[in-house]
C-alpha cells in the first residue's frame, strides 16, 4: 500500500468547537495507518490551537496534544501569522516587536505566512479542512 501524504487546515478554536479535536484524531489515524502528514496549518480562529491554555482534568489539552504529535512524528505545525497577530497569538520575537508582555504561542508551533498553506496544498496528495 502506498503512503498518502496529507495536510490539514484547521479554522476553529479548540475550546469552543469540535473541529480541532476531529483534526487531531484524524491526524493520529493517518499516522497509525502509516500514511504521512506534511503540515498542519492553523488559520482564522484555528490559531488558538497554538496557545497553551489551562484545562480542567476532564478536558483534552489540544495544544499540548498537537505539540506531542509534532515531536513524535516530526510534523510541521504552522500558525498563520496575520490572523495570529490580530488575536494576540505571538511568539517571543513578535511579542518583543509589538511590545506585548510575552509570548502566547507554544514553542512547538511556528508563525508563518499563508504561503505555507499553498505550499502544503502543493506538496500533499490531500488537504483536508476542519472547521470552516
Amino acid at each position: 500500500m502506498c503512503a498518502v501524504i496529507f495536510s490539514l487546515a484547521v479554522y476553529s478554536a479548540p475550546h469552543s468547537h469540535q473541529a480541532s479535536h476531529s483534526a487531531y484524531h484524524f491526524a493520529r489515524s493517518v499516522l497509525a495507518g502509516r500514511h504521512r502528514i506534511y503540515r498542519v496549518f492553523f488559520h482564522h480562529d484555528g490559531v488558538y490551537n497554538g496557545c497553551p491554555g489551562v484545562c480542567s482534568g476532564e478536558e483534552i489539552d489540544i495544544p499540548a496534544r498537537w505539540a506531542e504529535l509534532a515531536r513524535e512524528h516530526d510534523i510541521d505545525l504552522v500558525v498563520c501569522s496575520a490572523t495570529a497577530l490580530r488575536r494576540g497569538v505571538l511568539d517571543h520575537q513578535e511579542a518583543r516587536r509589538y511590545q506585548r508582555p510575552g509570548a502566547t504561542l507554544h514553542p512547538q508551533f511556528t508563525l508563518s505566512g499563508l504561503g505555507q498553506l499553498i505550499d502544503a496544498l502543493q506538496h500533499s496528495d490531500r488537504l483536508l479542512s476542519f472547521g470552516s
Partner: protein, 118 residues
C-alpha cells in the same frame, strides 16, 4: 500544481472568514498559481453592489475584491442556484462573474489542480 480554486462560502459581514479565504487566494496568486474564485452559498453576498464596509466589527472583504485583478486573479465564478435561492441575479453583482449551473459547477471543481474551501 498550477491552478487553484478558492470556494468562498461565507458572507462579507459577521465574521472574517470570507476575508481570510480571499487572503489565501491572494497568497496563491502571489506564488504564481492561476487562481480562480467560486462564490457559493452565502459567499455570493460578497459580490453584491453598493456594499459599505462595516464601521466596526471584523474587516470585511469589500476592499479586497476590487484589487483582485492587480494580483492576477481575473476569473470569478458564481453558483447560479445560490443566487436564485437569495432572489439575486447577475445584475446585482458589483464584479463580473460567470454564473454557473449545477453541472458547470461540478465541472469547474474538476478543472482545478487544488481546491481550498472556506
Amino acid at each position: 500544481m498550477k491552478s487553484l480554486l478558492l470556494l468562498s462560502r461565507r458572507p462579507p459581514w459577521g465574521s472574517s472568514l470570507g476575508r481570510d479565504g480571499l487572503d489565501a487566494a491572494l497568497a496563491g496568486a502571489a506564488l504564481g498559481l492561476e487562481v480562480a474564485l467560486l462564490f457559493l452559498g452565502d459567499g455570493v453576498y460578497q459580490l453584491l453592489k453598493h456594499q459599505q464596509p462595516p464601521q466596526s466589527g471584523p474587516a470585511g472583504s469589500a476592499r479586497i475584491l476590487p484589487a483582485l485583478p492587480m494580483y492576477g486573479i481575473h476569473t470569478l465564478y458564481v453558483d447560479g442556484a445560490s443566487l436564485k435561492e437569495r432572489a439575486l441575479g447577475p445584475e446585482d453583482l458589483a464584479l463580473e462573474a460567470q454564473v454557473l449551473e449545477l453541472s458547470q459547477t461540478r465541472a469547474c471543481l474538476e478543472r482545478y489542480d487544488g481546491i481550498l474551501a472556506l
